[in-house]
């Protein structure tokens, strides 16, 4: 099981990291600016909408926009941190509970052994 878990982690890291190497950088656009890469798929879909329906006007705007990319990454990091914190708490509690249980079992077994020896 432990081996399988490590293999799973390695596979996820590879799946995430390899595209960074494998995907060729896009050629520079006509304006000489390098093309963008690893943009959001959501944004590309938005682009596709404007291609299909050039006259479509969004009829509602977000109430609150992150003031900058930094603020946006702050909030995304906060979201991930909240989630990771909860998972870390559970894992820590679970590992400790497991260890205490095993220790208690071992002590109980030793006590039984002692009683028999007496």
């Amino acid at each position: 099981m432990k081996r399988q878990n490590w293999l799973l982690i390695v596979a996820v890291v590879l799946l995430t990291a390899l595209p960074l190497w494998l995907v060729p950088k896009p050629a520079a656009g006509p304006d000489g600016q390098p093309g963008t890469i690893f943009g959001g798929a959501d944004g590309q879909a938005q682009q596709a909408i404007s291609n299909i329906a050039p006259n479509y006007q969004p009829w509602f705007a977000p109430l609150l926009e992150p003031a900058s990319n930094e603020i946006a990454s702050l909030l995304f990091a906060l979201q991930a941190a909240i989630g990771a914190g909860v998972i870390g708490y559970w894992l820590g509690a679970a590992v400790t509970r497991d260890r205490l249980k095993k220790e208690a079992e071992r002590k109980a077994a030793e006590a039984a052994e002692d009683r028999r020896a007496d």
């Binding site: 099981m1 399988q4 878990n5 799973l8 982690i9 596979a11 996820v12 799946l15 995430t16 390899l18 595209p19 960074l20 494998l22 995907v23 896009p26 890469i37 690893f38 943009g39 959001g40 798929a41 959501d42 590309q44 879909a45 938005q46 596709a48 909408i49 299909i52 329906a53 479509y56 969004p58 009829w59 509602f60 705007a61 977000p62 109430l63 609150l64 926009e65 992150p66 946006a72 909030l75 995304f76 990091a77 979201q79 991930a80 909240i82 989630g83 990771a84 914190g85 909860v86 998972i87 559970w90 894992l91 509690a93 679970a94 590992v95 509970r97 497991d98």
Partner: protein, 225 residues
């Protein structure tokens, strides 16, 4: 899978909101019932929600040269049933719509439908099928999370193609366009989500065997394993 604020025509936005609303009510009811019957499951529900929080915050690079994110709702669907993931998805989507301008209030119904309704139901269905076919737990969990993730993005493609049919090729051409943006990008990400879900289930079966015994994930275990 986030359709941006205002980017669905009014009637579509309303339609998806109406379609999602009953699932929200049923989902909240399902969570409350499960917590009332077994308050000790609170921790596991927290883990399932947290998993979705983490994964949907991580925009990962894909082989197509664009970025997208997993949804993480498959795990909870296997543990607590698909309905329980609707309120979890709602919290995630509201957080992102209100604070991050990612997704939106007008598209909340549509995004909820793809991420928190179709995804979990597909994951749950695939899991039941795979276990019925006597596949191992790890394989069944992987297949469920993988397919649930893909199903979410296919749903988004259908929603957009329906709202914005191609002037020349109609719905099909549009679906192909949105599908190629979302689905191909999502393939390796869905694999990652599947692997991570297996990882968490491994830990759960090791440390929380007692609590798992009462959950749908293991409901039919004695019969199949």
């Amino acid at each position: 899978m986030h359709i941006m604020e205002g980017f669905l025509p009014v009637e579509h936005a309303l339609g998806w909101t109406v379609a999602s609303a009953p699932f929200v009510v049923l989902g909240i009811r399902s969570v409350r019932r499960q917590l009332r019957e077994r308050p000790e499951q609170r921790m596991l529900l927290g883990v399932a929600a947290a998993f979705s929080f983490v994964l949907s915050a991580l925009k990962l690079p894909s082989v197509t040269g664009s970025c997208s994110h997993p949804t993480g709702v498959g795990l909870g669907a296997l543990l607590f049933g698909p309905l329980a993931m609707v309120p979890v998805g709602l919290v995630v989507l509201l957080f992102q719509a209100l604070l991050l301008a990612h997704g939106g209030l007008t598209t909340l119904g549509a995004n909820l439908f793809s991420m928190a309704i179709v995804g979990p139901f597909v994951a749950y269905g695939i899991f039941r099928l795979a276990r019925g076919a006597r596949l191992s737990l790890a394989v069944a969990v992987f297949a469920a999370a993988f397919m649930g993730d893909l199903a979410t993005y296919l749903t988004t493609s259908v929603q957009l193609a329906w709202a914005f049919p191609d002037p020349a090729g109609g719905f099909a051409a549009s679906l192909l366009k949105f599908g190629s943006i979302f689905a191909f990008t999502q393939l390796p990400l869905a694999v990652s989500e599947g692997l991570l879900t297996v990882l968490v289930v491994n830990a759960l079966t090791r440390f929380n065997a007692e609590e798992l015994r009462h959950l749908p994930l293991f409901a039919g275990r004695r019969a199949t394993a």
